[in-house]
Assembly symmetry: C2
Homo-oligomer: 330 residues x 2
């Protein structure tokens, strides 16, 4: 295993410390619970938090900022945050407007967040919950009952956060999150596996001519192993699976995300976006927003996922609102 | 070779088409010369262009936008743009204020840009040149006489572009570029090699316990092969080489860039940034700006480079100016 780290046991802590150092004055950083929180959360705004396993960066620890998450409290690599992380983070950001928990649908996450929520609610904190399960690949998976939550999560965060910044109350923000989740679909695939730092060996391996269609972001099996194929063919399969699932229809306005799994060069992601844009054109979808880059990754895995979000005026308004986070371009 | 592409021969064209499709209405796209140009270049502003080999994205084709490049005309993967690309691109963006060519110091690029410039000058176009050679790894390299131009190039683009947007004339913008190049130093290293699409096999290979210190962005050898080491030790070596080269000194204000080589997860880059920030603190450098992510890559290579730029009030002003490009976050 060759990774940029000092000790696998400290990988997540040292990463979060790096994020904190790269954003001086912006965050409250509590190393004991892997908490990074905005230090300027408005007192009367619904506070929004997330935190699943690490290893999916920029999800979610790098997405804390005005118009995005108010806080994140990730667990170790591919491990749900312990319940006390959820509890402490909730307490830290709680105010009279209440707290929204955005949770990706994995059993480990569900359990930690349920228990953390109960602990916080016992202290009188008002909490709303939105579960994200946008992955159309499989109905149940290795670590889920029901569908997995993957990159579509970003649209849930973005829209809930915009609604909260606009002064919506907790029930309204929960309704926004549920609406976005109901209108977003994703599917991923992998060219290679990845190596969790603590394991030191690949989670799974693919031969030189093999790919995995429908991969999970923790290496969970998807629909099948297949032979390596041209980008256009792979996009065709993922696009069709997503399009037919909602279903989308000609005339729909959409946001499109081509998400890298961590090790895929951005050159290849833009080539893939070109294929996705042509499929949208062919199907009569109008692309209003596009997102090309690494959003929800799986360490250094080479692969990508496609996400389509069906827009209405409300969702589009929220996507247009300003957002800040730990990462920036120039 | 497993990459997201359809035909290696069309890789670059299909990537640029994807960028164009992802930014509707923003660019003039001329596929025959791999040209992407802003469609809103002010008539009285020095026009700025760059274009070395592809495979280094987002450099430079994804950096076209207000406050960054006015146009780019990359060659094929790891190949300089042919002279007619340079000539046609120069003609396309030329105006009375003149054109700035920013060129990374590789012999292939120097030759193409010299000849393209002569062709354009013969038609009366006024052209200024800035050569970027920020890599401290080696004094001459496989494809260079003198030092290589790597990620420090971004600071040259950013500052020249800001100066041009502020109305500086061609001679003044050239002077800004030369000043930034004189104050910026970089060094890179690799954990793995990479596979150019047309070659189909790795440019070079590193064993499971090997790294290359001082790697070039086309796989050129650096200072030496070494055994895999903790992130802290690797950063110590790169930081020290850069720090002593300028030399930097306690009290300096700096911009710091931790640049991924394409296949390195952003989690590891932030961990590395944490190490860089601690080195800056130890040496008495004040970090005014930081940039963590993929800026100047080498396809899917796992590795990183560190860049330090010494700031003065003028350079800092230019870094603070707004900039747009093809890639965005939210």
């Amino acid at each position: 295993m060759k990774k940029f780290l000092n000790d696998p046991a400290n990988f997540v802590k040292e990463m979060i410390e790096g994020i904190s150092l790269a954003n001086p004055g912006k965050y409250i950083y509590k190393p004991e619970y892997n908490i990074l929180a905005r230090n300027d959360i408005p007192a009367n705004k619904v506070a929004i938090m997330q935190g699943s396993g690490s290893g999916h960066e920029p999800a979610h620890i790098m997405c804390v900022g005005k118009g995005m998450l108010d806080a994140a409290c990730p667990g170790n690599v591919f491990a749900a945050p312990p319940m006390d992380y959820v509890y402490e983070c909730t307490k830290l950001i709680a105010n009279d407007a209440g707290v929204l928990h955005i949770i990706n649908n994995y059993q480990g996450d569900r359990m930690s967040w349920d228990m953390g929520r109960e602990m916080a609610e016992a202290e009188g904190i008002k909490i709303g919950v939105v579960i994200v399960d946008d992955d159309v690949s499989v109905q149940n998976s290795t670590y889920t009952v029901g569908r997995r939550g993957v990159a579509g999560n970003f649209f849930v965060i973005k829209c809930c956060a915009a609604a909260a910044e606009r002064g919506k109350n907790l029930e309204e923000v929960v309704a926004v999150g549920k609406k976005v989740n109901a209108n977003v679909r994703s599917m991923g695939m992998a060219l290679t596996g990845c190596i969790p730092p603590a394991k030191g060996t690949p989670l799974f391996t693919l031969a030189d001519d093999e790919i995995e269609i429908g991969i999970g972001i923790h290496g969970e099996p998807g629909r099948r192993r297949d032979k390596y194929r041209p980008a256009k063919d792979i996009m065709e399969e993922l696009f069709t699976a997503i399009y037919e699932d909602l279903p989308f229809a000609s005339g729909d306005r959409v946001a499109v995300m081509v998400n890298g799994m961590g090790g895929t060069p951005i050159s290849e992601l833009y080539l893939l976006y070109g294929e996705a844009a042509k499929k949208c054109e062919e199907k009569g979808l109008t692309v209003v927003h596009n997102y090309v880059g690494n959003y929800c990754t799986s360490l250094e895995m080479q692969g990508f996922s496609l996400t389509l979000l069906k827009l209405d005026d409300e969702i589009e308004t929220y996507l247009n609102d300003p957002a800040e986070c730990a990462i920036h371009v120039f």
